[in-house]
Amino acid sequence: MEETKGSIAKLILIGGSAGSLDALLKILPAVHPAFRQSIVIVLHRKFSNDNILTGLLSVRTKLKVCEIEEKDIIRPGYVYIAPGDYHLLFEKDHSFSLDDSEKVNYSRPSIDVAFQSAADAFGDSLICILLSGANADGTEGCKYVKEKGGVTVAQLPRSAEVAYMPSQAIASKVVDYVLDIDGIIDFINKL
């Protein structure tokens, strides 16, 4: 069962909470079908049935969308959805780990936890994007991502359905780029 170390160059990790689904439904279809990096999405959500979200997103993009199972290897050109009720962690061999420990920022998955763990595994190959939300989750994560040499992006607060989450990160001076939806699309497609 030996799998070789993943071969991805860059990881794009997107965190979102209230109001972020709308943003994602605009961003994903606009990502170029030949996109060769990997996208991982960590959302706070009420409904626990993960298939709904995966279904919603997969019909809107040519990229392969899949729900993460523990130990999956991260592959280029895929969009991965973090399952509900587990924290998402990243291993140095570019595989996923899941962890059902205590909620962080009232959330599981927590965006901070995912950002921090990805920063440890990917360092300066990591790009984190923080979308709409009503929670302060993500700010600590962005801070850590920057310490490890990664890049952070926040959705332009006035373009977000709920501005609080990106605003928090921006106010804490842990964000490299503040972009609206079109800006984020452009940014991803140029990677």
Binding site: M1, I68, E69, E70, K71, P83, Y86, L89, F90, E91, K92, S97, L98, D99, D100, S101, E102, V113, S117, D120, A121
Partner: protein
């Protein structure tokens, strides 16, 4: 971190070296913050020199989060398909490996009771962490959790009045003794302890996510050796037996994370 885990193995015999790195790293960082260690060196020193602190280490690096009727759909399958399939056995033995504080065990006991099988069943409830085993034995839970648990119970197809399974006192509830009479509790380390019986059903949910693939294979092989022909292994909702060393002899039951051992070819 590797050095620290080596210490723990050498000095105390607990082997955490095949736990997933990312999770272990998180748990250790969290414990260092909780207990206010100024440096990793001091943390390591404390662990090396203070056996009592090892106890705390084991309690805190393992994740003990659990619920009654967690993943109601899983329990519905257990109720509707698995228990009926093993009901004809004269004697039913079930192993909950990594049972944490017992919520899962109480749930299974309720299902067995409702299927009128509890009297001829034995549930072995084991965990590496002695502290959670103690709690599981006590059968005492915060009253505040009962609303969620009762909803889970109903979602899993439960038809009874959930509150008849416990008695409430102030802000706590005690699970009925009669449900727990058929449970045997013990510490058991899946990394180093061996098989101790043959079972018709082994449940090990949300434990393998903390193990690397080698250790997962080792533990699944241990389960395979502890399972009767045509017995069942149940895993957590994001875990799989699929790519494991024992997958050849197992067939998944529907869409749930339950596998049935096939007869020897």
């Amino acid at each position: 971190m590797e050095q620290l885990l080596d210490d723990v193995l050498e000095m105390y015999g607990y082997d955490f070296s095949d736990y997933t790195k990312a999770s272990m790293h998180r748990r250790i960082s969290r414990l260092m913050v909780l207990d206010r260690f100024p440096s990793f060196a001091e943390f390591r020193y404390k662990l090396r020199t203070n056996e009592d602190y090892l106890k705390r280490f084991v309690e805190e690096v393992t994740v003990n989060v659990t619920e009654m009727f967690r993943d109601p759909a899983f329990y519905a399958t257990l109720r509707e398909q698995i228990l009926p399939a093993i009901a004809s056995k004269p004697f039913i033995r079930i192993w909950h490996a990594g049972c944490s504080t017992g919520e899962e065990v109480y749930s299974t006991a309720i299902l067995l009771k409702e299927a009128n099988l509890l009297h001829k069943s034995l549930i072995y409830a084991t965990d590496i962490n002695p502290e959670v085993i103690k709690k599981a034995k006590d059968g005492i839970l915060p009253l505040g959790y009962m609303k969620d648990y009762s909803e889970n119970y109903i979602a899993s197809g439960g038809k009874e009045d959930f509150s008849k399974y416990y008695t409430a006192k102030y802000d706590r509830v005690k699970i009925n003794e009669s449900l727990l009479e058929r449970v045997i509790y013990s510490t058991h380390n899946l990394v180093s302890d061996s098989s101790f019986n043959e079972f018709q059903l082994i449940m090990c949910r949300n434990v393998l996510i903390y193990f690397n693939k080698d250790l997962q294979n080792k533990v699944l092989t241990l389960f395979d050796g502890s399972l009767e022909n045509l017995g069942y292994i149940a895993l957590g909702s994001k875990e799989t037996l699929k790519f494991s060393a024992i997958s050849g002899r197992y067939k998944q039951v529907g869409k749930d994370k339950i596998w049935k051992k096939q007869k020897e070819a």
